[in-house]
């Protein structure tokens, strides 16, 4: 049985407004003694009296009524049952809801979000192990690989195969390879399709990321001193936090465009580019030039990661072959983290991923100028990711090689000394 805590809320609100019982009772048209009984939950409050009190306390009647309380108490009971390990004071839920309805609503919302995320994670895990499309494609791949392996092994180890039989085996390898690439293509399409979701963005960061991705990270409206605010209005971020973050992002984009105008950028890219030389010539930072290159419309898009001194990702432009997760910790072997220790230096390096593919990365780091005496400059590092299709834009170099990965949770590299978490997907998958 839920007891009434409307009285408690009326009392709390009255004290916040600095009203005496007498003053509130007069305002609401009831006697002070009746109000006293209501505030101590000895009389129910509803109807006209509730409306009058709500008006006098300048809150909507629902904020004082019982319906919201009932729902919230039930929601918090559910949350408490969900995480009993914290041993919440369940016998005081009603009092908590009565006293702190805002906090109660927040806990209830967090619990609801937590449930939804858990369901999503379970569904994704389930999909990986039981999805009929995946199972069927995996079966097909293994069957095809078996045929190729068995036949290739015969051709490699048996010398006296008659010509027609040898021809049939060769043909079989050709056909099965073709089939294997078709299955692999179908799997890739499947993952592409399932990755794009109609789900609304869960966080302001996700909302901004989607807006940037849709715009191709490029905003030509800002190219020649265009205003940020009107553009924000057309991009329509829903929440205040998303709007603030997007404003910050667009302002930096405009400043970068001002420092390195489009025409200058086009001139630079007419011949293979040395970032250090070009930045010095223009009087801009290498990181700023890297941002300008990554956040523009181009035939061959470049990726970018910028981090602060704590290793948090500040800016990201992922590429199809280089997904950069917002939530997941990046691989500590990425050279952008090494760059933090060498501010003022810009160097190229080939980053080798667990699958064997290698991508050119150009890293740099700088220290922001402090604003006042005694303040320390803050370091940041930026890594430009140059896929093979864009390698011709840069002056040829002889980069060294580092091994890295996509982040521990999704990395298949075994025996990695930098691993701090087990992968969520078993290696055999």
């Amino acid at each position: 049985m839920v007891r009434s805590f409307a009285g408690l809320r009326i009392r709390e609100r009255r004290l916040v407004l600095g009203l005496s019982q007498t003053a509130l009772a007069r305002e609401a048209g009831i006697s002070p003694s009746y109000l006293n009984l209501i505030e101590h939950n000895r009389r129910p409050v509803a109807g006209k009296v509730l409306l009058a009190l709500a008006r006098a306390l300048d809150v909507p009647p629902s904020a004082l009524g019982e319906q919201a309380t009932l729902g919230l108490v039930a929601a918090l009971r559910e949350a408490a049952a969900d995480l009993p390990v914290h041993d919440p004071e369940t016998h005081q839920i009603e009092e908590f809801v009565g006293r702190y309805p805002g906090w109660a609503r927040m806990i209830s919302t967090l619990d609801q979000t937590n449930r939804e995320l858990r369901t999503t994670v379970e569904a994704l895990g389930d999909r990986l192990t039981h999805d009929p499309v995946l199972q069927s494609d995996m079966h097909e791949m293994l069957t095809t690989i078996t045929a190729i392996r068995s036949t290739a092994s015969i051709l490699a180890t048996v010398d006296d195969i008659e010509a027609p039989q040898r021809q049939r085996f060769t043909r079989a390898i050709h056909d099965e390879s073709q089939r294997l690439s078709e299955v692999a293509g179908a799997l890739t399409d499947y993952f592409d399709r399932t990755a794009s979701s109609d789900r609304p963005p869960a966080t302001p960061e996700e909302e901004v990321a989607r807006i940037l991705e849709t715009a191709g990270y490029s905003f030509t409206q800002l190219e020649h001193g265009g205003e940020v605010e009107p553009l924000l209005d057309t991009l329509l971020p829903k929440g205040a936090a998303a709007r603030a973050e997007l404003r910050h992002w667009l302002t930096r984009w405009r400043n970068d465009a001002e420092a390195v105008p489009e025409a200058v950028l086009d001139d630079l890219l007419a011949t293979p580019l040395d970032l250090t030389v070009a930045a010095r010539k223009l009087g801009v930072g290498v990181a700023q030039l890297m941002r300008r290159l990554a956040f523009r419309q181009g035939q061959a898009p470049l990726g970018l990661i910028a981090i602060n001194g704590a290793g948090q990702i500040l800016l990201r432009r992922p590429l199809p072959d280089w997904p950069i997760s917002r939530q997941m910790a990046a691989c500590p072997l990425l050279p952008v983290f090494d760059a933090l220790w060498q501010p003022g230096t810009t160097w190229p390096v080939d980053v080798q991923m667990p699958g064997g593919q290698s991508t050119l990365a150009i890293c740099t780091a700088e220290i922001d100028a402090p604003h006042r005496m005694g303040e320390r400059g803050r370091p940041s590092a930026t890594m430009l990711i140059v896929p093979d299709s864009a390698r011709h834009l840069f002056a040829p170099t002889d980069p060294g090689t580092v091994a890295a990965g996509p982040g521990c949770r999704v990395c298949s590299r075994t025996r990695c000394t930098a691993r701090i978490a087990e992968p969520v997907i078993a290696h055999q998958l």
């Binding site: 079966h139 078996t146 045929a147 015969i154 085996f169 079989a172």
Partner: protein, 124 residues
């Protein structure tokens, strides 16, 4: 008298390479790509070993195995099951139905030959 092996496998290229290998090793090999017709072929050739794929058209490898074990004259035939699914559930089911060996694709040719020789009593 050579040992007889019946391969029940619907993947033509796998079947051809297995048949080639086993014939080369001195076995007499029959092939059948269809689960529903596997028992008829087994009755015809009375194999010393059946190599049986799990995923077959018309009748699964498990169903063929069940029929084989219930057959008066063929119930003792050794069976090597092939599957692309290495799941415990499949392995358990194969064992319960009386499979002698469970091979997971992709397998090595050498392992198939060695196991075929063992199951037909040519090698210990």
């Amino acid at each position: 008298m050579p040992k007889r092996i019946l391969i029940v496998e619907d993947e033509a290229n796998i079947m051809e390479s297995l048949a080639f290998l086993l014939r080369r090793d001195g076995f007499e090999v029959s092939t059948m790509p269809d689960g529903a017709r596997a028992m008829g072929e087994a009755e015809r050739v009375s194999p010393d070993l059946m190599i049986l794929d799990v995923m077959l058209p018309n009748l699964s490898g498990f169903d063929v195995l069940r029929d084989l074990r219930a057959h008066d004259g063929l119930s003792a035939t050794p069976v090597m099951m092939l599957t692309a699914k290495g799941q415990t559930r499949d392995r358990d089911q194969a064992e319960q139905l009386g499979a002698d060996l469970f091979m997971t694709k992709p397998f090595s040719n050498a392992a198939i030959i060695a196991e075929a020789r063992r199951l037909t009593g040519l090698d210990p």
